[in-house]
């Protein structure tokens, strides 16, 4: 636990230095940190042995909350929690149904519901501007209208701070009785029931938590990229989140951010140098990881440092 925390601290330091040294990296790293927060949610569900192929719907909810509300209420410090709240509400609504299912049925149902949302976002042009997307109005921070450079630094700092917060919360949760029970769903769900614990309720808590984190990630993406399109809620976006979870390593909260940073960096550099091959490269990397290092990047790191992964 301490080792994890130290590595996380070190990682944060590295990111900070990188952002200072190479200014345009701020943007990439902010997005990476945001996605990492969403991936924490995936991690929770993976712990219970379930995969959601629809979590992009929570990203989209958070992002579109910002896009719709920003013109009337540009305060970023309000928009972020609001996006999380609405995503959480959607998560509760969907979760109440979805937690009754397991394995492939859980995954498919999540996919289906997210595709319903995506389709609506794509087609209801007069509301959402369809695939053109919405340009996010300029945001204020604690009421202040800040110059662009400062805004970028602030977004980076907020993303880093939220990443640290949620990472710590998730790590602690996974060690708590409820978190352990979550893992029990994967191995012996019947036993959980015979201990008097409602597996459904445990899973629902995790699901709503993951929705909130997805929503907050969405708000961060919206505020950083300033452009929100339905693609954020497409099934490939959900797939990316699961991809990052496995790439980084599902065994630790740190893995989510390792994976996200690696993913975004490769994507940016590959896209810059070999335009239409970044997907191929990332796909290849994922294959290698799954076949030869299923513990992900965190697994490799922990192995090197002889830490209990």
């Amino acid at each position: 636990m301490i080792a994890e925390g130290l590595i996380a601290l070190l990682g944060a330091g590295v990111l900070l230095v990188a952002a200072l040294a190479i200014p345009w990296l701020k943007f990439v790293l902010t997005i990476a940190l945001a996605k990492g927060i969403a991936v924490l949610g995936i991690l929770l569900l993976l712990r219970a042995g379930q995969v959601s192929f629809g979590h992009a719907m929570f990203l989209a909810t958070g992002a579109y909350t910002v896009a719709f509300l920003a013109p009337a209420m540009p305060e970023a410090l309000l928009l972020i929690p609001l996006g999380g709240l609405f995503a959480g509400l959607l998560g509760l609504l969907v979760g109440l149904f979805v937690v009754r299912y397991r394995d492939i049925f859980f995954g498919m149902l999540n996919l289906a519901i997210s595709m319903v949302l995506y389709s609506l976002l794509e087609k209801l042009y007069h509301l959402t501007k369809g695939t053109d997307g919405i340009r996010v109005a300029r945001a204020t921070f604690a009421g202040f209208d800040l110059p662009r450079e400062t805004q970028e630094w602030l977004m980076f700092a907020i993303a880093l701070g939220l990443a640290a917060l949620f990472g710590t919360l998730v790590a602690a949760y996974l060690r708590s009785p409820m978190g352990r029970a979550l893992a029990g769903i994967k191995t012996r769900e019947t036993r959980l029931e015979f201990l008097g614990v409602s597996a459904r309720r445990v899973l629902l808590f995790a699901y709503v938590a993951s929705a909130v984190m997805g929503g907050i990630a969405g708000t961060l993406v919206a505020l950083t990229t300033r452009h929100v399109t339905p693609l954020l809620g497409y099934w490939t976006s959900s797939g990316e989140l699961v991809f990052i979870a496995i790439l980084g390593g599902a065994g630790s909260a740190v893995g989510a951010f390792l994976g996200a940073v690696a993913f975004e960096l490769v994507r940016v550099y590959a896209a810059a140098s070999v335009a239409d091959a970044w997907q191929m490269i990332l796909g290849g990397v994922l294959l290698l990881v799954i076949l030869f290092a299923p513990g992900g990047l965190w697994g490799i790191l922990a192995g090197r440092l002889k830490v209990r992964a």
Binding site: L46, V51, F53, F97, R100, Y101, R102, D103, I104, F105, G107, M108, L109, L111, A112, I113, M115, V116, S119, L120, E122, K123, L124, Y125, E189, A199, R200, Y234, W235, T236, G239, V242, F243, I246, D276, A277, W278, Q279, M280, L282, G283, G284, L286, L287, I290, L291, P294
Partner: protein, 311 residues
């Protein structure tokens, strides 16, 4: 109801005829996915990529044949050839070198492997065929149109979409059904789908069956793509669209008889088509709404026989 039909009957009829072609293509892809899942128990995300590559290959071959001065009939041969090539080459390649390594792995990891493959194949498409639209509509235009009387009006439909596509889909359905029920290989596939352990115990070479099934599934997807290519211009992203729709069909139909996949494809195709005419904003939503509705009530699908893990 009668009044509504009188006013909108024409549109509804149009929608139905339109939907048939669409449903036929959906079926071609979904049936392959269903077969593969039944035998390998893997949901192949890259199935849509095989569709796309089949489509691109068919278009390229068609354009090549045309450029060589070959008669238009060669264009149809191009479609079949493309499907066969893609199926025969990519199918065994993928099964032997990728899928075989992950049998027995966790479900999540299997899914992600096929997702990674999908990502790789998306870029392969871009690298080989570029990002500009590719189209070769000769096989469709060559057959011309037929004028369908609708009340006072006459609406032209392409014979390709009205007869060829549904015709091939029906032929595939019947052919597959016969294959699965009457031939030895087909019955072995059914046995492995029902219970792999028991089938192996009876002496069936499950490994060969899995290779065969995957190749057949790949060929079907590629054939679907080839058949679709004259009706549209191909751009990156076609594979992604197709796979998620196929999932919807397969999940709604459930694992079981291929007739179920056919009926569900028809339902989705007609549903979408009706939406296009009456509520175009909901066109894309319809298949997924149907999927959600069905899965909530009957998680194993309309015709599924798979055991649900539901608590």
């Amino acid at each position: 109801m009668a009044g509504w039909l009188q006013d909108n009957g024409l549109l509804l009829g149009l929608a139905v005829l339109d939907g048939l072609a669409y449903a036929a293509l959906v079926f071609m892809v979904a049936v392959g996915l269903n077969l593969v899942f039944g035998v390998l128990r893997i949901v192949n995300v890259a199935h849509g990529s095989l569709f796309a590559i089949g489509a691109y290959t068919a278009a390229s071959l068609g354009l090549f044949f045309a450029s060589q001065g070959l008669p238009p009939l060669a264009g149809y041969f191009a479609l079949v050839l493309a499907a066969a090539l893609v199926g025969a080459l990519l199918g065994p390649l993928i099964e032997r070198f990728l899928l075989r390594r992950i049998y027995g792995h966790e479900e999540v990891l299997q899914l992600l492997v096929t997702f990674a493959l999908f990502m790789i194949l998306e870029d392969v498409q871009k690298l080989v065929w570029g990002v500009q639209p590719v189209s070769q509509d000769l096989p469709m235009t060559y057959l011309g149109t037929i004028d369908v009387p609708f009340g006072d009006d006459v609406i032209p439909f392409t014979k390709y979409q009205l007869f060829v596509l549904p015709g091939i889909a029906v032929a595939t359905l019947v052919g597959l059904a016969l294959f699965l029920r009457r031939t030895l290989a087909g019955r072995m596939i059914v046995a492995v789908t029902a219970d792999k352990e028991a089938a192996t115990a009876m002496g069936i070479d499950a490994t060969r069956i899995m290779l065969l099934t995957f190749t057949a599934g790949a060929a079907l997807a590629a054939l679907g793509g080839a058949l679709a290519s004259p009706t549209t211009s191909l751009v990156p992203g076609v594979g992604a669209q197709t796979i998620v729709l196929s999932f919807a069909v397969v999940a709604t139909a459930g694992l079981g008889q291929i007739e179920g996949a056919a009926l569900t494809s028809l339902m989705m195709g007609l549903g979408r088509s009706v939406a296009v005419y009456f509520a175009p904003e909901f066109e894309v939503v319809v298949p997924y709404l149907i999927m959600v509705a069905v899965l909530l009530v009957r998680p194993q699908g309309l015709f599924g026989v798979l055991e649900t893990r539901r608590v």
